[in-house]
Amino acid sequence: MIVVIMPTFPSTVRHPQVARGVVTALFAVLWMSAPPLAAQTDFHNLDKDRPLRVEDAYATKRWAFELKASPLTLSQDEDGVLRYAPSLELKHGLLPGVEVSVGQHLDVSRVDSETSTGLGSVELSALANLWVESRTLPAAGVRVTGHVATESEADSWVEIRGLATRSLVGPVRAHLAGGWMRGDGRAEDWWAGLALDYVLPFHHTLLLAETWIAEPRSASEDELDRTVHSTLGARYQLSPTLAMDAGVGRSWAGQIRQDWFLTLGVTHEFAVRSLMPRRNR
């Protein structure tokens, strides 16, 4: 028997029933994804925030589910604020080349020995791979994400993201990504980044590096306040069904900059047989 103790959300949570529903659903999926439904995870995929902000242009496999958990995502801002933001995300290859996902993170901040806890916005996202890489074109994709605020004082926002992936020399690929945000809850107006990965296929490992630049919301034209951030990371295939990732990073410029950033995550891929089609004979 499995007992899930639901967290009591702070009074500032605007839609506790929504937040509770999301957490319940994610735990339910976690329970459903026991070994009998095992499938295959691919360390070669570069997923959003696992561990880089830049992702590749490919959607998850058709009919596959991917459960992504990051129990450890820590950062410290320049002004000394320590943030702990564990997250959970569920992705599904709903259509050929199209994935949808839902995710949420916890937001724990500590300043001068005072700790505050909140729920991040619920992320509802869809990624469409427009085309795969060919001799003449990089792979391209577009992602739309709605961030639905759960805290009473927070607002929602939307991001539209463009993605491109290109094989370079030998085992190196490059990924270009950029996002444009709108909505009162956004912290940035836009961002753009470049990532490189280097695959070690026999070690089932992907080495990663990225740099991105972001324009904070309502930044003045006269100020050099764009955030420039770099991350180094790796993805590693633990077993046919499990991949883990790790990343460390820091910001080099900007009003909101992180002295350091650390994330660890794990991805489990599975499928639900009853949701898969059967061929008409």
Binding site: R62, S134, F202, S239
Partner: protein
């Protein structure tokens, strides 16, 4: 402020330059128009039997991961280094594969785009077809390796798996193709002519990939399965000992290498033969000077369409079986089971000298389970002084799918006349034996009249009129025929020196 503006300007200029370089690097349009390609990765079928093969036969499973790499690096090299000397593949990469990769195969499957990026860019759909078919291979191994499944459950799981495989446009057709698709196109055989050793290595891969099915059907006992699988791996390594002589000289076809699997799951066998044929076809296209470099992508895609089209260059089931056997089982790497040397105590020569030490001598193919026999001195041994019993035992061995017992009753110098062909012992074993076994298993044989005549030099002649009835595939069999068998007394008893069959 001025300093800030300078830095800002610098940053803008830097960003602009970087953007221009990135766009130029990301989008390269050399002569050809932009190629928009759409294909997606399908998820494979989740089930309790996932990873069973990996669990029980990790050594073979890991070899298959290495095989994927071998195929991939071949295409990547042929496409990205078209002017490379022959020695790059025939010596350098061959040695790397056989000396470093195969002895230390990767523990998990590798994403094929990770080691064949340029080829993957050239024909992403064709690359995805291979990945999807390789997943079918692995999932069918999983089902057959799962000893918890009953035969009915296993058959049902295989059917569901094939349905899932065929449910998208990446699937090879399950209708067999004629050999002309591989051997009679304008670019055919270019690869094997230029790279005979590497071609043999690829065929050795294909041999093990299809041979692996046979022990999973022939044996139920886990120890026997394990021993047989070890034997297959040993046999595979023997092929690499003296390249290219010991490597297959013909493309291994599933009906020849894995007749039990083909009989039970003919649609799978057809898919795998089509897959392996297309591997060769693409190698030929990439090598052939008859296909200009600018046309290779288009030609590969034309072939990919043919291999997915059930009507293109299709042949009947019977023609496919006959085609597979006509090339000779030995030339294709040899049978997966039933190739043991006869027991040393019997004093007979091994059927395959080069295979004499590659599998435990106590292994026996179960064939179809209920017909298992328990050793070379088993129930088929005829009375030493009864030539008619020898003939009866020969037919019984065929009906039970026991190729070893059947072959033991043939004289080393036997001549077999069948369907207008005259075959020696080796030719029969590599040729019609498998078909005769399938036929004998499918029909019942009734002797209408028989007689035994004394011959000269210790020979006797057995004459019989027989009636055979049953169903073979879609074909109803109801035939009468005659059989002439010449037997010779040897120190081991009566052995068949000559057979002549004729039906009407």
């Amino acid at each position: 402020m001025r300093g800030t503006m300078d830095r800002q300007s610098l940053m803008r200029v830097g960003l602009s330059v970087c953007t221009a370089l990135l766009v130029a690097g990301f989008v390269s349009v050399p002569q050809a128009e932009a190629q928009v390609e759409r294909v997606y990765h399908p998820m494979y079928l989740p089930a309790d039997h996932n990873w069973e093969f990996r669990e029980h036969f990790p050594a073979v499973d890991r070899l298959f991961n290495a095989f994927d790499y071998g195929h991939g690096i071949l295409y990547e090299t042929l496409w990205s280094e078209p002017e490379a000397p022959v020695a790059l593949l025939e010596e350098e990469i061959y040695l790397e594969l056989t000396g470093r990769i195969l002895p230390n195969p990767p523990r998990l499957p590798m994403p094929e785009a990770s080691f064949m990026p340029q080829y993957a860019r050239l024909v992403p759909v064709a690359k995805e077809m291979f990945e999807w078919a390789h997943i079918l291979h692995k999932q069918s191994y999983d089902i057959l390796a799962d000893t918890r499944l009953s035969e009915a459950e296993r058959d049902r799981a295989m059917e569901e798996l094939l349905d899932h495989y065929l449910s998208n446009g990446l699937a090879f057709t399950d209708v067999p193709k004629g050999m002309e698709i591989m051997d009679e196109q304008y670019f055919s055989k270019a690869f094997r002519a230029r790279y005979p050793k590497f071609n043999g290595l690829i065929w050795a891969y294909h041999w093990l990939q299809v041979a692996t099915y046979e022990p999973l059907l022939a044996y139920e006992d886990p120890d026997e399965r394990q021993a047989a699988m070890n034997g297959l791996v040993t046999r595979f390594w023997q092929m690499l000992e003296d390249p290219p002589e010991a490597l297959p000289s013909e493309m291994p076809m599933t009906p020849a290498i894995a007749p039990l699997f083909t009989e039970r799951y003919p649609r799978f066998a057809a898919v795998f033969d089509n897959l392996h044929m297309m591997h060769d076809v693409i190698s030929d296209i990439l090598v052939s000077a008859e296909v200009p470099r600018s046309d290779k992508r288009e030609e590969i895609y034309r072939q990919a369409d043919l291999f997915r089209d059930p009507g293109a260059m299709a042949i009947t089931h019977d023609d496919w079986i006959a085609m597979a056997l006509a090339h000779g089982v030995d030339a294709q790497g040899g049978p997966a089971v039933g190739w043991l040397p006869v027991a040393p105590s019997r004093g007979a020569a091994p059927m395959h000298d080069h295979e004499a030490h590659s599998e435990p001598a106590d292994q026996e193919p179960r064939a179809h389970g209920e017909h298992a026999h328990d050793g070379h001195d088993g129930p088929h041994t005829p009375a030493e002084d009864d030539p008619q019993a020898t003939v009866a035992a020969f037919h019984e061995a065929l009906a039970q799918g026991d190729s070893i017992a059947a072959l033991e009753l043939l004289h080393p110098d036997v001549r077999i006349y069948e369907q207008g062909h005259a075959e020696s012992l080796e030719e029969y074993r590599a040729g019609h034996l498998a078909a005769d076994i399938r036929f004998a298993e499918a029909v019942s044989r009734h002797v209408l009249r028989e007689e035994l005549l004394d011959g000269v030099d210790g020979l006797v002649v057995y004459l019989a009129e027989v009636h055979t009835a049953g169903r073979m595939g879609d074909r109803e069999i109801d035939a009468q025929g005659v059989e002439t068998v010449v037997l010779e007394r040897t120190t081991d008893g009566w052995r068949i020196r000559h057979v002549h069959w004729s039906n009407r």
